[in-house]
């Protein structure tokens, strides 16, 4: 990997989640040197990895908010970027399902809200039309609202694509590097980290769950991150025909409700719960959370509960007391905060990066376009809807390793694992390999391939 301690960089981006990686990629497209600093051993290993993985139209954002603007813009930007880099995206569409009179009553105002957000394609459906769209919904559907533009996307490939392109554009990636202190001088800010000092002219705080901690190092007291745990249950791929589009809850006095969504890997997801915690690293699942989700799932789609569960996990969202994204530049101290980024941040990521660039430029960072940018990287496809190596006779013929399936449930080949281990940002553990290849994430959870996968990782440790 790159040098551990660059002498002096123009911009240090703290946080290698989807937002930090997008910002690093964006800034590295200009004639500035960029260091991306991540506390964990891999990019996208915290909040970004356990996202509900929806590419949002922004139909239900608060009209006029920064979030509404950036989600709408990010939807278009990421949609195009995904095509170029082959980040898997499926335009499944969504339907909000009303189960009570109150929920039915609010569909029209949701439609108006979508229009206010510039999204014009929502349509209110009668009960029969909702069942025609999603035949396996449980009894009691009163009406629905379609959002045809809502899509599913691979959050792992997205983060990896940004980071990979940032590196290709010359950015330095510092993994396993936790920022522990900030000292601002006239021209240079020195970041104390667990791996020594980093000197930067400008600093971008995209630390997600730790953004308030970094912000306080600058002496601010503007917000507090409250880890909000969302538990999710992923059902077997055999459930996939049950849910061909995203089934969203209608926000109501009963609470936010849970969604049932196809996943880009061919499964069906049920969740999330929503529970504020004190511990910023507690991603354990709970009996109460699972019971709650299964109860909801039984009402929304009873036949889903007859399918096997492949995985249950929890993600943490970086909730704050602010209703909107907080993007704020301190020109004097050459510091930009990107905080309060909720789960919509995946969709908004490229727009946030663009916005961050404009903020920094407005505060005095010279951003001249860099000439001779490398081509956009093409990422290995791990989406179920697109051809994967095991299906490609041409690829197997040119390299038999693509015909050697190691992870049977997810049909991951030895060739793909090898490629991931040799990639510019190789995984450091089984979780990282899973996010790059899908290995071990299937129904057997490693019964058949776990040992093979571990030995492949171990072999490269020694190499």
């Amino acid at each position: 990997m790159s040098a551990a301690e660059p002498a002096l960089v123009d911009v240090a981006v703290i946080g290698g989640g989807v937002v930090g990686c997008a910002v690093a990629r964006e800034l590295a497209g200009f004639d500035v040197s960029v260091a991306l600093i991540e506390a964990r051993g891999d990019v996208g290993d915290a909040t970004s990895k356990a996202n509900t993985a929806i590419l949002h139209t922004g139909f239900d954002a608060v009209p006029g908010s920064l979030e509404a603007r950036l989600v709408a813009r990010g939807y278009a930007l990421l949609g195009d970027y995904a095509k170029a880099t082959r980040i898997p995206v499926e335009g499944t569409g969504a339907v909000l399902v009303a189960w009570t009179d109150e929920e039915r009553g609010s569909l029209e105002s949701l439609r108006q809200k979508a229009i206010a957000n510039g999204y014009l394609d929502c349509e209110i459906l009668a009960s029969e039309a909702v069942y025609a769209l999603v035949p396996h919904l449980g009894p009691g559907v009163l009406a629905g609202l379609t959002v045809p533009g809502e899509s599913i996307i691979c959050p792992w490939t997205t983060t990896l694509a940004y980071a990979t392109e940032a590196l290709a554009r010359g950015a330095t990636l510092m993994l396993g590097t936790r920022v522990t202190g900030v000292s601002v001088a006239d021209d240079v800010t020195t970041l104390a980290t667990t791996r020594g000092l980093v000197r930067a002219r400008w600093v971008v705080n995209a630390a997600g769950m730790g953004a308030d901690v970094i912000d306080r190092m600058y002496g601010f007291d503007r917000f507090t991150v409250v880890p909000r745990r969302g538990e999710l249950i992923v059902f077997d791929k055999q459930a996939r025909p049950l849910a061909d589009c995203i089934v969203l809850p209608v926000p109501s006095s009963r609470g936010k409700g849970v969604l049932v969504s196809p996943t880009i890997y061919g499964n069906v997801m049920l969740g999330p719960t929503s529970e504020n915690l004190a511990d910023r690293e507690d991603t354990s699942t709970t009996a109460a959370g699972m019971e709650f989700l299964l109860g909801k799932g039984r009402a929304i789609m009873p036949s889903l509960l007859e399918e096997e569960v492949t995985a249950a996990y929890a993600g943490l969202r970086a909730a704050t007391e602010h209703g909107d994204y907080v993007v704020d530049v301190d020109a004097d101290r050459r510091y930009l905060l990107i905080g309060g980024i909720r789960s919509t941040g995946l969709t908004a990521s490229m727009a946030l990066a663009e916005h961050a660039g404009l903020q920094l430029a407005g505060a005095g960072l010279a951003l001249a376009p860099r000439v001779g940018l490398p081509p956009v990287p093409v990422l290995p496809n791990i989406g179920e809807a697109f051809p994967r190596p095991y299906q490609r006779a041409d690829l197997i013929e040119s390299d038999p390793e693509y015909g050697a399936i190691v992870c049977f449930c997810e049909r991951v080949t030895r060739g793909e694992i090898r490629d991931a281990l040799r990639s510019p940002i190789p995984p450091c553990d089984v979780d990282g390999l899973r996010r790059r290849t899908r290995a071990t994430m299937g129904r057997c959870q490693g019964f058949a391939c776990g040992a093979d996968v571990e030995s492949a990782l171990h072999a490269t440790d020694l190499a």
């Binding site: 991603t283 354990s284 009996a287 699972m290």
Partner: protein, 419 residues
């Protein structure tokens, strides 16, 4: 060097080279039938390959062997008999009624056959499918993964296996896990079962007992796993009182709780059994798809390897008969689990087609030391029989096929329950 043609033709395609698939292939070859056997693993032999204790081969080979020796013997037998055995070849999809798509290092190809035998076996439900909440640390494995790590001789980067293990389940396979742990230098410090009683085969009880101080918590469930990076403890809940306690350990092995690897069967649109979740078959091991048969633990998750192998021997004759043509099967009567049972296999009765070993296999949901079995058809009780062997959750309960004598083909579904 040229790869195989895009389409390979065979009389019979056997999918899965475990005891059932290999024995079926041997049987078919002896009857002069051409067989291609597809195995997705890099080695043929199935689960016995990674199970080093003895106890294999009793019913089918009439000797006692270790798992690897048994697997090797079956593989050699299939090769010697002239079966075309393809390892590292995974069936990924159907491409016709009796034709499948295969991925292997040789390429992406199609295998078309006159008949197909599905012998894809079963797997243990992992922790996630059992909905055990808590942290997701290293050190949580199924028996299969444990044995693959230990007997595959593979180095383990994450140090999956520690020194103090809790074994979840007290089925036959659970004892196998205890022995494998011991080989890996890890002590099983507790076995838990949700049932009242534990199950262990005679050959293993002795071995298990020789593990000093392995207590068994009955009527107990693991309700939480704790440990951020590595397992530190589990929470145990007494089912009868709801009382919980924390038990320190660094390894958790989830054993048993088998589910068939039936994805291919389901993708082919075969009728599936809601009880065991494998395909529904009749006594000839025909599935609902013409020319597609099943064998082994895909049909009864799980009985012992020798019973799976004898399915293979049985299905070979049935498939050969199918290839010769002749009359189609008779009308079938469904055989369903009644009180006290989760499933019956085979789930279809055709009086002309006795099942393998002329036995019905059932899975009990409660323990009875001297069960009274009641066979009903509609409102009519056909038979009550006191059986002198126990019915117990955690092992297959076998009944002679003769309990179904007197079933009327047109009088509707038959149920077998405990009275």
């Amino acid at each position: 060097m040229t790869g195989p043609p895009l389409t390979v033709q065979a009389d019979v395609a056997v999918i899965g080279a475990g005891p059932a698939g290999l024995t079926a292939a041997i049987g078919l070859r002896r009857l002069g039938v051409g067989v291609v056997v597809l195995e997705r693993e890099a080695e043929a032999g199935g689960i016995p390959r990674i199970t080093h204790h003895t106890g294999y081969g009793l019913r089918d080979l009439h000797r006692m062997m270790t798992g690897p020796a048994y697997a090797e013997r079956l593989v050699q037998g299939a090769v010697d008999a002239g079966a075309d055995l393809r390892i590292g070849a995974m069936v990924t999809d159907w491409s016709g009624d009796r034709s499948v798509m295969v991925t292997s290092p040789e390429g992406r190809w199609r295998l078309s056959a006159q008949a197909i035998v599905l012998a894809t076996g079963a797997r243990e439900r992992p922790r996630s499918a059992r909905l055990v909440p808590g942290d997701r640390p290293a050190g949580v494995l199924t028996t299969g993964m444990l044995q693959d790590v230990v007997h595959g001789g593979r180095a383990v980067s994450g140090g999956s296996i520690g020194s103090r293990a809790v074994v979840v389940g007290a089925e036959l396979v659970s004892w196998s896990a205890v022995l494998t742990l011991r080989e890996a230098g890890c002590r099983a410090v507790l076995m838990t079962t949700e049932h009242e009683r534990i199950e262990a085969p005679a050959a293993l009880v002795w071995a298990g007992r020789s593990v000093p101080g392995l207590p068994v918590s009955r009527r107990t469930r693991v309700t939480r796993i704790m440990g951020r990076h590595r397992v530190e403890a589990v929470e145990l809940t007494r089912l009868d009182t709801g009382q919980t306690r924390t038990f320190a350990c660094d390894t958790v092995i989830f054993t048993g709780d088998w589910i068939p690897d039936s994805e291919l069967a389901r993708a082919g649109g075969l009728d599936m059994d809601p009880g065991h979740r494998g395909p529904v078959v009749d006594g000839a091991l025909r599935t609902s798809a013409h020319g597609v048969f099943g064998a082994g633990n895909l049909l009864h998750p799980v009985d012992t390897a020798d019973v799976a192998a004898l399915d293979g021997r049985h299905v070979a004759g049935q498939v050969a008969r199918f290839l010769e043509g002749g009359t189609g099967p008779q009308a079938a009567t469904r055989v369903l689990p009644g009180a006290g049972f989760a499933w019956v296999s085979p789930g279809l009765l055709r009086p002309a087609d006795p099942p393998p070993r002329e036995r019905l296999l059932l899975w009990a949901t409660e323990h009875r030391s001297a069960p009274r079995v009641v066979v009903r058809q509609g409102d009519r009780v056909l038979r009550r029989r006191l059986v002198p062997w126990p019915a117990s959750p955690g092992r297959v309960f076998r009944l002679p096929w003769s309990v179904l004598a007197g079933v009327h083909p047109e009088a509707g579904d038959v149920t077998i329950g405990l009275g």
